[in-house]
Symmetry: C2
Subunit: 464 residues, 2 copies
């Protein structure tokens, strides 16, 4: 290592030690001949003192230093004089009397100051994302996000779940949104689709006997973007065999309890209250009510609520046909099965559920259909004829012929969850390299032009 300690590590017990720190010039104050510099790294800030009486030649170098220069400093840890102690810093009782300085890399004046960027446009912040990410807010968010993932994995592992990676180059699993497509070079005229979610794969994994699967998985939807949407987003995907709704509720509640405990030290009360879809619509006029302050609220800042008993189908007036409210793999209530043959499809209740916190949906799931005949009937009801169903979902119907267990699951939108958890304004504040509403990355300029040679190899042309 080019350092002996990090910039967040030194304290009174280190007084007298000779140490080496590396980091960025965060702030500089000249007090007469003495120069004070706060050096910053991922772990904190340490105050450096450069005294010209010590070393004239070093002092020339110190005068070159500007914000964001990367430096290596040798020195002796000393106690700060009384009255200069900074109780807000973990290193606030000490300072480093510099004895040696190396400039590891200079820096141009950055387009905005680290940690002071209120009036900066989103576009500029994203173009210079590496400067923005140096700020304490983004550093904290990314580390919290990691901790949340770590807490999730620890919990599910102890509950015997196995994380399995499903493919990104796959067949379209249409779930209402547009697919991102990838032309195949080796298979002329054919295309992969990036998954909108691992939905079909997780069901196939249940048919494969994995019993309890999860994955923190990237998902892709080519939709017109709004504030809370990104072309790619991250989902905690969970699926279990031989379960009913209560098992999913219990697991999800204990998972969230664990995350809040591990990462924020907050005790959230479980079980969460539940409301039927019809009750929620009647009482709140929405299926994502913010129940803080109502009798459905928990005891703290986070008010969780299960919404259950969604309708299985909704009527699409424009296209004059029934479509799935959730997705077409959702089972219906046992009592309502016989309604599937009737006219009154709107009355059929699904075995699906959403988890809402403070008015935002953070998870959604269902008990799935596991019988081929039922799945075929649902496809028919939403207007997929046998040929279409076979073409799009044939492999699932095929798999259901060979011993599919009853199964169900849930998926959490992690970006939104972390946004709520960190009290951030936008999911862009919890994603390292997000895109703009035009689905552009101002830092890399993706998407970009490509060579005709590449297109030719992929057997495609640009349309005029």
């Amino acid at each position: 290592m080019l350092r002996t300690h990090t910039c967040g590590e030194l304290s009174k017990k280190d007084i007298g030690k000779e140490v080496t720190l590396c980091g960025w010039v965060h702030r500089r104050r000249d007090h007469g001949e003495l120069i004070f510099i706060d050096i910053r790294d991922a772990y904190g800030l340490t105050q450096l003192i450069f005294d010209p009486k010590k070393d004239r030649s070093m002092h020339k170098k110190v005068h070159e230093l500007k914000s964001e220069y990367v430096i290596q400093v040798k020195g002796i840890v000393q106690e700060r004089p009384r009255g200069t102690i900074n109780p807000k810093l973990s290193t606030g009782e000490i300072e480093l009397l510099a004895g040696g300085l190396d400039i590891l890399n200079p820096s141009l004046t950055p387009p905005f100051e680290v940690d002071k960027k209120l009036e900066i446009s989103e576009e500029t912040k994203l173009k210079y994302r590496y400067i923005d990410l140096r700020g304490s807010g983004m550093q904290r968010n990314m580390r919290l996000r990691h901790k949340i993932n770590s807490s999730i994995r620890g919990f599910l592992e102890r509950e015997n779940f196995v994380e399995i990676e499903t493919p990104f180059l796959t067949r379209s699993t249409p779930e209402g949104a547009r697919d991102y497509l990838v032309p195949s070079r080796l298979n002329t005229g054919k295309f992969y689709a990036l998954p909108q979610s691992p939905q079909l794969f997780k069901q196939i994994l249940m048919v494969s006997g994995f019993d309890r699967y999860f994955q923190i998985a990237r998902c892709f939807r080519d939709e017109d973007l709004r504030k809370d949407r990104q072309p790619e987003f991250t989902q905690l995907d969970v699926e279990m065999s031989f379960v009913d709704e209560e098992d999913i509720f219990g697991l999800s509640e204990n998972l969230l309890k664990k995350i809040f405990k591990d990462v924020a030290g907050i005790e959230i009360p479980v079980p969460f209250p539940r409301l039927k879809y019809s009750e929620a619509m009647e009482k709140f006029g929405t299926d994502k009510p913010d129940t803080r302050g109502t009798k459905h609220a928990g005891e703290n800042n986070y008010s969780f609520l299960w919404i259950t008993d969604f309708p299985l189908f909704k009527y699409n007036k424009e296209e004059k046909r029934w479509e799935s409210e959730h997705h077409p793999f959702t089972a219906c209530k046992e009592e309502d099965v016989n309604l599937l043959d009737g006219k009154d499809l709107g009355r059929i209740r699904a075995r699906s559920y959403d988890l809402v916190v403070n008015g935002a949906e953070i998870a959604s799931g269902s008990i799935r259909i596991h019988k081929r005949e039922v799945q075929e009937k649902i496809f028919k009801t939403i207007g997929l004829d046998k040929k279409d169903a076979a073409r799009r979902f044939g492999f699932l119907l095929e798999a259901f012929k060979y011993g599919a267990p009853p199964h169900g699951g849930i998926a959490f939108g992690l970006d939104r969850f972390v946004t709520i958890f960190t009290k951030s304004n936008s999911i862009r504040d919890v994603i390292a390299f997000p895109k703009t509403q035009k689905a552009v990355c101002p830092m890399t300029n993706a998407p970009s032009d490509i060579d005709d040679k590449q297109l030719k190899e992929l057997h495609i042309k640009k349309a005029k």
Copy 2:
């Protein structure tokens, strides 16, 4: 839950209990009127006995049962008669005297028997992947893979690393292979590329001050496939700031020591031996020598070896130009910097390293360039003019202007590592849903035809 216990859980201490199991009919033996069935789930096998004297109507249902039917069975745990104990099974001392049976889902006769599929073609195994995955070998491999990932994450987390997700829809980061491209709907005529690795993002994360980053990341290369290649593969990606080679070696060795300890209970000796590239070529004629049984070997079945001091450039005789041996972001040895201005580029040694085990390269990395001038010079040397360099890597060069720290890292090919670890024949045996050598998934039939409407929205046409 539809069960009270799993099929791998019951033992002598449960004798006399009434329990419910769910699982697949694994094997059936009729002994006169008594019918024995092994029921299987993810956790094990339990022997069921159906006695016609108990319940005639249930017995009719039992006669319907065939391999891979999914059933739910209620019964009383009883001791197996002497002589019928199976010491190979965790449940081998007990059996379940069935008192109730529900067929949860029937099964057609599967195309091959679970756990007996030696003469089955790869194509059939992949088409019916959900049957193949039920076998004990694939179940074990996927669970070991999960354990390895879990051990990696635990270790790196304790070492203060933060896992950060980098984008999949990005700009091409050319590293010698072809990119998979994704046409943009919102940006006519432009394309995203799927990342060949997170290389540039991990360097940008160092510029962003994250200090210690890792990611278990999917990578994409559109190459002609061989036995050990897949269109998408998984990499453990690691990057650190303010480090030199020794830090990467130490970290990697301790990481591997931990994995082998955690997952296999094996102590591997560290540090690993090292060989310079030139020595390896001289002694073994390869830079991936299998050193088992040589003086460079460790003490067990896994013989690790660092290869160091690779040449920075190799001469491409066809194109008559120098190119990067590793990738163009690799730093060169301090002593060789002055050679950059000379003619003898082949003599310049890189600060790069490979980790080889039993003749297979499982990791590769380098100390990176962090100065813009040096990076520009390297681009020029490999024939990228200023405009080209700016077009392809402009954002990295730009980032290097604003205080890039010295940094370096390593990436482990996880598929290959897990293949070696599990002593599997092919990386397809450690990937849940792999593709064939034609980059096709026989289960989903990806890649597939798509509608003209979709192409039109993406502003592309198929080439004739």
